[in-house]
Symmetry: C2
Subunit: 342 residues, 2 copies
């Protein structure tokens, strides 16, 4: 029953291939249909600026993890209709729209190793083309004719937007709790992951227990994914992560390692965090001192344990789904997400 789930039974080929690449290969025909639909729907007869801006982002690639999660879960639950493709394109459009708006908010200059749209064009185009993609996502998700799917995706959209605003007001605020961090993480990453996995089950007409399990898998996977990202910001190596150690510290972000170190801080340490994060007065050696404080309180180790725990929860959730090659791939995907910190 669990032949695809535990590592011990994997063949050499499976060990050698990353799980998202296995998923991409398994779902290749459907993914091609998703790419065609994305290209078709982001076109605009009247406003050539739209495909210019979106092509720049959409063609840049990325792993297309979110649409793959829709296709994979629909496949896992035996769906054989056409609408998984619409919903996969929907989540990619929502994701791309949030990236466009994030770049305006973060005043970013680079995304996926290329200049951001707001740098190449202007903030106006990023805001309005983001709105256009949201509207297109919305049109796409109406097409399958499922009110339940619309309910899931509208709730996810609200969670995403609320999380973004929350992140803005929580930034540089030492009072940020782990609860607030979790809400921000759900908004940033997990809400769209869990919506993707849940709608896959819903359009396939899967039993409620399976739909619930799929939601939990996506939620836990997204949270693990984001915690790993936040941990690697403090202990990754730039070559494999593409980020410089300490970017979040310099941008004064309240991520889990900092929140844990702050909650364990004595008066002197608190003053340090107040100066560097709240006031933004950072000097040479501050990053090294921050890392030392995190280490002395076990903040990095606890953060790592939480990421592993969320990955384990994802694997436990997916285990209730029926035996299927995709189940094994999703199981290994959860392991892969935390492999960089294991």
């Amino acid at each position: 029953m669990s032949s695809h789930v535990d590592g011990g039974s994997m063949g050499l080929d499976e060990i050698a291939t990353k799980p998202h690449e296995q998923l991409a290969a398994h779902l290749a025909a459907k993914m091609e249909a998703v790419n065609l639909l994305i290209r078709d729907r982001m076109a605009s007869r009247h406003a050539p600026r739209i495909p210019q801006v979106t092509a720049h982002l959409v063609e840049a690639g990325g792993k297309r993890l979110r649409p793959m999660l829709v296709l994979a879960t629909a496949d896992l639950c035996g769906y054989d209709g056409p609408f998984d493709v619409h919903l996969a394109a929907t989540v990619e459009f929502i994701h791309t729209a949030t990236l466009l708006h994030d770049d305006v908010v973060d005043e970013s200059a680079q995304r996926r190793g290329r200049p951001t749209a707001n740098l190449l064009w202007d903030n106006k185009s990023s805001v309005l083309v983001g709105d256009y993609l949201f509207a297109r996502a919305f049109q796409l998700m109406v097409e399958p004719g499922s009110l339940r799917v619309l309910d899931i995706l509208s709730n996810a959209s609200a969670t995403i937007a609320e999380g973004e605003v929350l992140q803005l007001s929580a930034a540089q605020d030492l009072a940020t709790t782990e609860d607030i961090y979790l809400q921000v993480v759900r908004g940033k990453t997990a809400a769209l992951f869990s919506a993707a996995t849940e709608v896959g089950g819903v359009i396939a007409g899967a039993p409620e227990t399976q739909i619930k399990a799929l939601f939990e898998y996506g939620d836990a996977l997204g949270i693990a994914f984001q915690i790993v990202d936040d941990l690697l910001d403090y202990q990754g190596d730039a070559k494999s992560t593409g980020k410089n150690v300490g970017d979040d510290f310099r941008e004064r972000k309240l991520t889990l390692p900092v929140i844990k170190a702050v909650s364990a801080a004595n008066a002197e340490e608190r003053a340090f965090w107040k100066r560097t994060i709240e006031k933004g007065d950072q000097r040479d050696g501050d990053l090294e001192h921050a890392l030392a404080l995190m280490q002395s309180h076990g903040a990095l180790e606890q953060t790592r344990a939480e990421a592993l725990d969320w990955a384990a929860r994802a694997r436990a959730a997916i285990a209730v789904l029926p035996d299927h090659p995709v189940r094994g791939m999703l199981d290994r995907l959860a392991g892969y997400v935390v492999a960089r910190i294991s």
Copy 2:
């Protein structure tokens, strides 16, 4: 049959009261429910920035014309359920979200006589809270459980977003045609008006001919409304419009009066438009010269005639609806929109 439609049968009270005020009085209980729902749904347990930003805009008032159009058309078609209130709040949320994003795009400092949110807070808040309102609108519109309503509102959202991008790329471009202008106007104003009037008929279960007429009424009303606005920018008086004559000229906007003057321009006049609108090199006396050119080609008179024609189309469309006090109010509303230029 037409006792409420033609002016001759209006009582003194009706003549003295503006049609949108009559509508507000007739729909007072429902409008109160809309306001309560708006306040309830724009709240956020976690992100206090959200009600701060939105309250600033929503409390600022405005005529609430769009939600009123939903309630009025549902009432006119005999609807007695609760969901007109949800859809009315939906269109107000969409409208408010677009205002927030417009202010970022226009870098505006004032809206409805008050400082804009992007000035009081920052562009980030305007972008993200706008996204939050879109998501909330989306949740609200799913609640009535009508796929047709969702189809109408998702298509309107795409038209709005596409129109905004189109306006951006058409700005300062002398090649902008009247067709493009009309698409921009539909995106800016008419698409949400016509979606509001159409969904009113749809949730009331009105016959198809009536739903089509309601769509056409909203579309024509919105277009008339916007053309009047663009005309008054060149010939209104600042006291009654709250705008300074020539704002659009200074901002180099291709509105209908300019498009008409450009299409009739000789070589010398074309050079003038190229310098002032395309290159933005404006000098003392240019606005007066622009006005003289518009007058010499009848551009203002033709623009006025088009606005009156769209208002007449709105009145003709609403005439097929059954006799009802609201029908008379909507008819007079179309007349009122162009009264300032008649």
